[in-house]
């Protein structure tokens, strides 16, 4: 599939497909502009592109029938969860059929004894954890938004817990996928390991809906730790905070979460989430999981390291509601940044580097930010070497947009040069296509071959993930 082969489908064909879907699905197929607009973009850059119809299937078979129809008619198919992706993943660049999986939202099975579960793609992470209450288990992956598990698998998402529990890559055991020609295929299994053949599960995890539509996911679960303690520590400068993280990771403290917020981000969170008792300084949020004794030991080591880099006293949150408040504030960091300047738009970067390079990468980037004159926050899952800039710009101001784009590109290129990646967890979508080529070079050709083999007509979320 090269650029010339992606063209908008014939409008008459689209009209026929839309009419057919509306006939088959009744109220579950919607062509209202407000609904199409809502389905035309995720968060982040607002370059929206509307699908022609949004349809809400309720079973694997319905999804398969929809994709088969699109395959036969050569009409694009875009899978949609709750629209919280950040790189334009759900924009219908060539129109087509948006498959909203939010009504496929059942937890199909919970196998407490095996520490796994199977869910439909439209289950959100908060819903899953609510349903796990009482089992003593939890699902740790937590991107900021309350995303769907299907969307999280498709973007290979992670979150604040990844430093301890891994990303979707480590936690998806198997999938049910509707392929581009409308077959329902099951990949992976429930065994904790397997050497049987190609690892198709990991092929579809992170494929951003360009190879098929994920409809069911088998997930790993974990026991809720006996003791959980969260702490906040503030630093006089950014270097102190970042160096604390690097030393902690090199020491091998099994910290469950370690999050950095720079002074601007902390200021935004204090205002948006009404946090009390903190100052607008570079800040780390920690969380320790384990036995009472284990948590005590981990936190004592962490304090010793933090003291060396000028960290403040730890402010502890051990009550569940205090911890929830703290992490809710962290998860709302993106919205808190947007609220700094009402009406502005944000783009988010997602650099991730080997841990020893983290301080260089963040400090050089902070200097870039100061030169840019833009309002930018830094927030990150620094335990993994991953951090985000949220860059605000006036949507009508071409100069600001240009400077924002330049800043974002610089941080991505810096990460790649340091042996890291332009995206730790957000994905490529269509905003980072050129960076994928920078990062992977020749390997992108192989990706194209896979795309062509699995989606010969190029109907699956066209224009995303792999440059044409």
């Amino acid at each position: 599939m090269d650029a010339k082969t992606i063209v908008r489908p014939d409008p008459d064909v689209v009209a026929r497909v839309v009419a057919r879907i509306c006939g088959d699905y009744g109220e579950r197929a919607v062509t209202t502009r407000a609904v199409r607009e809502h389905h035309s973009h995720g968060e982040g850059l607002a370059d929206a592109a509307l699908p022609d119809v949004v349809v809400f299937p309720r079973s694997n078979e319905e999804v398969a029938a929809l994709v088969r129809l699109c395959h036969l008619s050569r009409v694009p198919v875009i899978a949609f969860g709750v629209g919280t992706s950040l790189e334009g993943h759900v924009a219908a660049l060539y129109g087509g059929v948006c498959i909203d999986l939010s009504q496929m939202n059942r937890v199909l099975e919970i196998n407490a004894e095996d520490l796994d579960c199977r869910v439909q793609a439209g289950v959100t992470r908060e819903q899953l954890n609510a349903e796990l209450k009482g089992t003593g288990l939890f699902f740790p992956i937590d991107p900021g938004a309350n995303a769907t598990i299907g969307g999280m698998a498709s973007t290979r998402a992670s979150g604040t817990n990844a430093v301890r529990y891994g990303t979707m890559r480590e936690n998806v055991m198997g999938l049910t996928v509707v392929t581009a020609d409308g077959r329902v295929v099951t990949t992976g299994g429930r065994a904790r390991k397997s050497s049987a053949g190609y690892d198709l599960t990991r092929l579809f995890v992170g494929a951003e809906g360009t190879l098929g539509v994920i409809t069911e996911i088998q997930l790993r679960l974990y026991g809720v730790p006996e003791a959980i303690a969260s702490a906040v520590c503030q630093y006089p400068d950014l270097a102190g905070a970042v160096n604390t993280v690097i030393a902690a990771m090199q020491t091998g403290i099994p910290v469950a979460r370690i999050e950095l917020l720079d002074d601007v981000q902390m200021d935004a969170c204090i205002r948006y989430s009404k946090l009390e008792g903190y100052r607008a300084l570079p800040t780390l949020f920690f969380e320790f999981h384990g036995t009472e004794a284990g948590v005590r030991e981990q936190s004592a080591t962490m304090r010793a390291i933090s003291d060396e880099f000028g960290g403040s006293e730890f402010q502890w949150a051990t009550l569940a509601e205090d911890r929830t408040r703290l992490w809710k504030a962290r998860h709302a960091a993106y919205y808190a940044t947007l609220a700094l300047k009402p009406g502005t738009t944000a783009l988010a970067t997602d650099a991730c580097v080997p841990i020893s390079r983290l301080a260089d990468c963040i400090l050089e980037t902070k200097a870039d930010i100061e030169k840019s004159g833009l309002t930018v926050t830094i927030v990150g899952h620094v335990g993994d070497g991953n951090f985000h800039l949220v860059v605000l710009y006036e949507p009508g101001d071409a100069g600001q947009r240009e400077r924002a784009d330049a800043l974002a590109r610089a941080v991505s290129m810096r990460a790649i040069a340091m042996g890291g990646t332009c995206t730790g967890e957000h994905g490529i979508g269509w905003h980072k296509l050129d960076l994928l080529a920078q990062e992977h070079g020749e390997a992108v050709d192989l990706m194209r071959s896979i795309k062509r083999a699995l989606d010969p007509h190029g109907i699956m979320n066209p224009g995303k993930t792999v440059p044409s």
């Binding site: 407000a34 609904v35 809502h38 989430s273 919205y335 947007l338 609220a339 009406g343």
Partner: protein
């Protein structure tokens, strides 16, 4: 959110208001989780974020369709989303603007228009409503059950105290309450009389304007506001301390008079002053609490009360927990109420215009209120009171009536 308002509204007061509200929204969606209609229907467009999109499109000049009207009409206007929103989006104001624009642009069928007109005229004119209610009560045995449930039994008021104090406060009597439940304001007047305050009923004041505004008749609403200001003004000039409103749904509107009439050269200043004087009954009673406390009879025996805080009290006026505190202080046992932030479905004329949704919300609300087996349900707004009483298994009263009933008998002089 980025917005580009269309020419017809860009340079108007409403346009500027709408633009600043739309810009404040960051689309986080925290509001959808607390929206009663989103909980029932699960449709993005039946939650605040979806409705913000719809209003934005309308104000950007997109055609207004029946779908737009449907989803806006289904909004209760409860403003639960405002309480939740971390960005301070004033959804209620945006919705009012949305309703006004939709009303101009949408073609409603003749039947619907007549129905909405009748509601406006019938409910907001005290005398017509009183006559209709009296007729309804006489004909009650003949009415179909669904209609009969909407006609509450008569509970006449006890006496009004004579006007004998130097301290004076005005009362907003409103439109339907004097006919439906005259006992509430009489109880409020007797209670305030105990702390040497005379509650004055100004002739010429009437409906606050809320019903007209919610039904898209903005100018009519402004007319009501001006009439009330005219009726109150002589008293305001003579130095009344406050304008007391016992229906929280009306109180929230009187408190917004300053905003509603901000561009009226004749009334803007007066409206601001009136709005600043407006108080819910709980604010007045709480302020005089030290003088009430010794008069409370604590020997009435236990009574279990479930309090339903009207949306206009907790979300609209942000008076949270005050009534509950007073009810506990007078020796009542408050039963726990789940999901107390959710609307009961009354919402002005909503219960009449959206009977299915209102019915579901009422059933959910009553289940939550009655879960703790209360002897009585208390609330603070006439709309909620009538709506809940039509299906509750225990009596539903305005909390002021309960409060006044707990004050010690006065020594006969």
């Amino acid at each position: 959110m980025e917005t580009h308002l269309a020419d017809f509204i860009r340079d108007t007061a409403d346009g500027r208001d709408a633009e600043s509200i739309l810009r404040a929204c960051v689309h986080c969606g925290f509001c959808t989780a607390t929206c009663p209609t989103y909980q029932l229907l699960g449709d993005e467009l039946d939650g605040p974020r979806g409705r913000i999109y719809l209003i934005k499109q309308m104000l950007e000049g997109e055609p207004v369709t029946a779908t737009t009207a449907l989803h806006l009409d289904r909004c209760l206007g409860c403003r639960s989303c405002e309480t939740t929103c971390p960005s301070g989006v004033r959804f209620g104001r945006l919705l009012d603007i949305g309703h006004r624009v939709a009303e101009q642009k949408i073609e409603r069928t003749v039947g619907v228009r007549v129905r909405r007109w009748l509601l406006r005229k019938g409910l907001t004119h005290r005398r017509w409503f009183g006559l209709a209610l009296a007729a309804g009560r006489i004909a009650r045995p003949l009415l179909p059950r669904s209609l009969a449930a909407k006609v509450p039994a008569s509970r006449p008021a006890k006496r009004w105290p004579p006007p004998r104090h130097e301290r004076r406060m005005l009362l907003l009597e409103g439109c339907v309450q004097p006919a439906l439940a005259p006992g509430i304001d009489a109880a409020l007047a007797r209670a305030l009389d105990r702390v040497d305050i005379t509650l004055v009923r100004a002739s010429g004041s009437g409906c606050c304007g809320a019903l007209s505004d919610h039904l898209g008749a903005h100018d009519e609403a402004l007319g009501y506001a001006r009439a009330n200001i005219d009726a109150w003004w002589p008293h305001v000039e003579r130095g009344v301390e406050a304008i007391v409103v016992s229906a929280s749904g009306c109180g929230v509107v009187v408190k917004a008079y300053g905003h509603l009439l901000r561009d009226d050269p004749v009334y803007a200043d007066k409206a601001r002053r009136v709005a600043a004087l407006a108080r819910d009954s709980v604010e007045v009673i709480a302020a005089e609490w030290k003088r009430f406390a010794p008069q409370v009879a604590m020997d009435h025996g236990p009574q279990r009360v479930a309090f339903h805080s009207p949306c206009t009290l907790q979300h609209g006026q942000r008076l949270v927990g005050d009534v509950e505190e007073i009810l506990e202080a007078i020796g009542l046992e408050l039963t726990p109420v789940a999901d107390s932030h959710l609307c009961c479905g009354s919402a002005g004329t909503y219960s009449i215009l959206q009977p299915e949704l209102a019915g579901e919300l009422k059933a959910n609300k009553l289940a939550a209120l009655e879960a703790g087996a209360p002897d009585v349900i208390a609330t603070a707004n006439i709309g909620c009171l009538i709506h809940l009483a039509s299906a509750a298994t225990c009596p539903v009263r305005h909390w002021v009536e309960i409060f006044e009933g707990r004050l010690r008998d006065l020594p006969r002089s």
